[in-house]
Structure formats: C-alpha cells, structure tokens
C-alpha cells in the first residue's frame, strides 16, 4: 500500500541522498581545515560525467566516471587552495564557475548545439527483503535506488574511519591545530589534498545520483546550488558524518514538500517551494549560530610546512 505519507517519505530519502553524499564528502574535507566552495563544481561535473559514462557502459560506468569527474574538479581546487595556498573562498568560487560553464560548453559540443534531449539508463528502486516490509519507514528507507544503500554503508564507515583510526585522528588534528599535527610528523598538505579529492569524489557521485537515479538526463546547471546547501548541511551536522546525513534528511524533506503540495492541489505559487530549501538553509545556519564547533583551523592558510 502506498499512501500519501509513505510516498512523501520516499521522496524525502530520494532527494536527501545526493545532498547527503556531497555533505559526507565535504565533512571529511572540512575536518582537514579546508572549506571547498567548489563542491558545486564537482557535483555538476559528476552529473555530466554520469551521462558520458553511462553512454559507454551503463549505470555503474556512469557512477564511476561521475566520481572521476568530481575528483578532477576537486583536484583543480586543491591545486590552488592547498598547494598554492590561495584563498579558499575565491578558488572555490572560480572552480564552481569553471565547472558550470565548462559542463555547459562540453554538453553542447558533445550532444549538439541545442543540447538535444538525451536519456540515460537509470537505477530502479531495489526493495531490500524484510526491511522494506517495516511499517511507515520500510518503503521510504529500503525501496530506494541502490546508490542510497551505498550511502547507508558509507556513513558508518566514514564515521569509524574519522573517529577510530589513526589516519582519521591525523585528519582531525590538521583541522584543529595544523602546527601541532605537523610537529607530530603528519604531512598536512598531502592529507588536505587527499581530503579535498575525497570530497570531490563523493560530490561527483552526488551529481551522478541526480542523473542516474533521478532525472535520467543532464540539464545545464542542474546542480542548482546543492553544493552550497551541502556545505550548510555540514555546519548543521556539526562536522560529523552521521550528523550530516541526518541534516540532509531535513533538507530532503524541504524539497520533497513541493511534490507533496502539488499532489494535494494547493494553489500556493510553486516558486515558494522551489525557494524553500534555500530559505531553510539560511534559517538553519542562523539557528546553529554559524561556526560554533567548527574545526578550529577551518579556512586558515597561515601555517608552514
């Protein structure tokens, strides 16, 4: 039986998945003291990469290539923000601009000047036996495209890695006190570079999810600010992987509201619902009072190695 509530909850998880993937990666990046505003660029690059990859080898090739593209964009950001120690905000903004323009250009070159409508294969929801029978949340959580299940596995793995391994401790040390971390023999710049790449990889997969589990096609600018929303989600999630996943659900709900209200035949202007996630981001950031609990050295560049 699919009633209104469970359809809504399914929509919540579906829209939350790409946000959670991107926010999970950015959580790791920011734990190393780097704020990657270019995450939006990795997402849109991943979306285009997914179309290209899926054209060659199906859905999973699409995801693989999406991850590669997301990583490549993040590598450009890391080259400037980590290696050259340029301002992270400016580098990130430029990388976003580069990826938004670059994907638009490449898409038109690859698929015709008007960007002919093209369809990629998509992931169908795969029910998980037994769990999908749970009341209320069963369908919402366990009848989803398999990329959502990848997320379910990634959240505990990243949590474990961040808090329970030596490497994770090193990552967090750099974000809190780079000088001490370096004194302890950690190669801070290298770890930061890798943390940015990991964030870009998940950003790419997030973009791939938009195409391969949702839209089934590429649209210019289809990332629609999700990279920036994901950065807000990291703040809401208190720089904690599980926190980020839960905060993403709140935003998934905000986006899913529009389908819910459209289905219920409300007369409210649709732009109100489109704008709602962005307004929610502002309210949520204000409510958490911005940067409290952030890694102490987030965004700082003034350490030597």
């Amino acid at each position: 039986m699919i009633d209104g509530t469970s359809a809504f909850l399914e929509g919540v998880v579906r829209t939350a998945t790409p946000l959670a993937l991107a926010a999970l990666g950015e959580t790791v990046t920011e734990r190393s003291g780097i704020i990657n505003i270019g995450l939006e660029g990795s997402i849109i690059a991943g979306a285009l990469g997914a179309v290209v990859g899926a054209g060659y080898g199906g859905v999973w090739a699409g995801f693989a290539f999406a991850a590669v593209c997301g990583c490549a964009v993040a590598a450009i950001f890391a080259l400037f923000a980590v290696t050259l120690r340029a301002d992270q905000i400016i580098s990130g903004t430029a990388v976003t601009l580069l990826a938004l323009g670059g994907t638009g250009t490449l898409y038109r070159i690859l698929y015709g000047s008007a960007g002919a409508a093209l369809n990629t294969p998509t992931l169908d929801p795969t029910p998980i036996p037994l769990l999908s029978q749970l009341p209320v949340v069963g369908r919402a959580l366990f009848v989803q495209p398999s990329i959502t299940y990848v997320l379910y596995v990634l959240v505990p793995v990243v949590t474990w890695w961040t808090y329970r391994t030596h490497a994770g401790l090193g990552l967090r040390a750099i974000g809190e006190n780079p000088a001490a971390a370096i004194a302890a023999g950690i190669r801070a710049r290298k770890v930061q570079f890798l943390a940015v790449l990991f964030g870009g990889l998940l950003g790419g997969v997030s973009g791939g999810t938009l195409v391969l589990a949702q839209a089934g096609t590429f649209v210019e600018g289809m990332s629609a600010g999700r990279g920036f929303i994901a950065i807000a989600i990291v703040v809401l999630g208190r720089w904690n992987p599980l926190g980020a996943a839960l905060a993403a659900v709140v935003f998934g709900a905000a986006s899913a509201l529009q389908f819910f209200f459209q289905a219920s035949g409300s007369n409210l202007p649709y732009q109100l619902f489109l704008a709602f996630p962005y307004v929610l981001t502002l309210l949520a950031l204000a409510a958490t009072r911005g940067r409290t609990n952030s890694p102490a050295a987030l965004g700082r560049q003034d350490f030597e190695q």
Binding site: L84, I89, I90, T93, V95, G102, T105, A224, Q271, A286
Partner: protein
C-alpha cells in the same frame, strides 16, 4: 553605423552592468566581505525598479526614473543587509547566505513576473514595459548606449576616491587587510565597518539592476541576470580590487560577452565558454598573486 562602431556600442552596453556589479564586489572584498550575492542584489534592484517603472503615473515624467533608481538602490541594500545581519548577528558565512539569497531572488522575480507583476495579457513571463519617464536617456543618439554607462564611470571614480583618500575608505581597507589589527589599534569598529561596506556593496549592485531595467530591458524578465554577479567577481579580482581598474576590466569582460554572443551566432561556440574564460582569469590572477606572495615569504 559601421560594424566596429556597433561592436563598441554593444560592448559598452554589456560592460555597464558588469562594471557596476564589479565595483560592488570590489568594495565588499576590500572590506573582507565575501559577497558572492551581487547577482541576487542585482535582481532585487531590477525588480524594484521595474515595479516603480510599471506603476508610476506618466504625468510625473523623469521623476519616475529617479524613483526607480532609488528603489533599486534600496532593494539591493536590503538584500545585502539580510546577509550582513545574518553574519553579524548569527555568524553565518556570507558566502553561503549570499548564494542562497541569489536563488531566493531568482525565484522571487520568477514568481512576480508570473504573478502580481505579469504583463496585462498574462501570456509572457515578464512585466509590462516601464513608463517612458523611467527610461534612461540615450547617450549617443541612434545607438543603445545610455547614460547608465556614465553613471558607472562616475561611481567608479567616486569609489576610488573614497577608498584611497577618505577616513571611511581607510577604515574599510584596514578592516579587510587585518581585522584583528584594525580592532586592536582602536577607533575602528570592524563589525560595523564591514556591515556598512556589505550594504553599500548591495546598494551598488541593486543600482546596476535598476540601470539595466531603465536603460536596456525596459521590463523585468525571468532571467534578467545571466550571472552578472558571478562575472563581477572576475571583473573585480582582475582589477586587483581597484575600482578605477574595474573600469578597464568591466569593459574587457563586456567585450568578451559581446564577442561570445557573436561567436555563438556565427560559428556556434557556446556562450557558456565566457564563464569558463572568466573562471580561468580568476584562477590565473590568484595563482600569480599567490606565487608572488609565497616567494616573498620564502615558502613557495
């Protein structure tokens, strides 16, 4: 009119919004405020100006233009003030808040041109044309070049003078270069100075929107800004955040956008290439600045 002349006119018309939003960004960045929201502030200004322009009674003549410009300035200032308030009161990163407000402004304008402000026949997603009195006078007869370009030049010179020679400009620069030093040296209320710079930046971006409506589009459209606020970042950075330099870089990017449009029409190079070039310009500029700085400190 010769082809060259037509290109120059087009270039200056395109340069006007870029030049003014570039000033807005340069002033904010100088104060250490990462205002990525010039786009939203531009849209807010354009919306307010269009609102005045369509509802002004024709009898008031050119007063409509003055009121439209003031409305645009106020709307841009208010839009930036939201982010400035979130920053000072709640510590919300302005990079995130201004980008969110860009989206809200885009959807807000979309709602208005499909709802309360839609043109009388309710067919197109745009407002009715603004009254004649709200039109910006033409600068060169027989062309589209309007007085908004002159306003842009005057703004740039005034901003340069204020930044370089006035006490206010000194406070803004000091707050941007080293807020801690500025605070501990006393006499500078850094959070106040940056908030004011933020709002002024928004006011200028709002004026750019008002000028675009009164001088070029004569109505509010759904996608009134093709991303001016983002191009403005490249314009400001390439000028080294110097507002006189913004005149040059604004015109350069105006030429770039004009050429990109022509290339798309003639040889099919997508116009999105322009934003790729902008991004590369930003990256090259910061790379050069950074390599130089790293060499000075000997840690390259």
């Amino acid at each position: 009119m010769t082809e060259t002349m037509a290109f120059v006119v087009d270039m200056l018309v395109h340069a006007t919004p870029l030049l003014i939003t570039g000033l807005a960004v340069a002033i904010a960045f100088r104060a250490g405020v990462w205002n990525i929201g010039a786009d939203g502030q531009f849209i807010a200004g354009a919306t307010a100006a269009a609102w005045v322009g369509v509802s002004a009674p024709p009898e008031i003549g050119w007063l409509a233009l003055i009121i439209a410009l003031i409305a645009g300035v106020l709307a841009g200032a208010i839009w930036a003030a939201l982010a400035a308030w979130l920053r000072s009161r709640f510590g919300v990163l302005e990079v995130i808040s201004t980008i969110m407000l860009n989206f809200v402004a885009t959807y807000g304008a979309s709602f208005l041109v499909r709802g309360p402000l839609q043109e009388p026949t309710h067919v197109y997603p745009q407002t009715a044309g603004i009254v004649d009195g709200a039109h910006m006078p033409i600068l060169v007869a027989g062309t589209r070049l309007h007085w908004g370009f002159v306003i842009a030049l005057v703004l740039a010179v005034v901003a340069w003078w204020v930044m370089k020679y006035s006490a206010t400009g000194f406070r803004v620069r000091a707050s941007g270069v080293n807020p801690f030093a500025a605070r501990s040296a006393g006499l500078i209320d850094v959070s106040r100075v940056t908030a004011v710079a933020f709002v002024v930046s928004g006011a200028i971006a709002g004026m750019a929107g008002a000028i675009e409506v009164s001088g070029v589009t004569f109505a509010l459209y759904e996608n009134i800004s093709p991303g001016y606020g983002y191009t403005a970042i490249a314009v400001a950075l390439l000028a080294g955040l110097n507002t006189l330099g913004v005149i040059g870089t604004g015109i350069l990017f105006g030429a770039l956008e004009t050429a990109a449009g022509a290339m798309q029409r003639n040889i099919g190079i997508p116009s999105t290439t322009a934003s790729v070039i902008e991004a590369i310009v930003i990256l090259v500029v910061i790379a050069i600045a950074q390599l130089r700085a790293n060499r000075v400190t000997g840690t390259a």
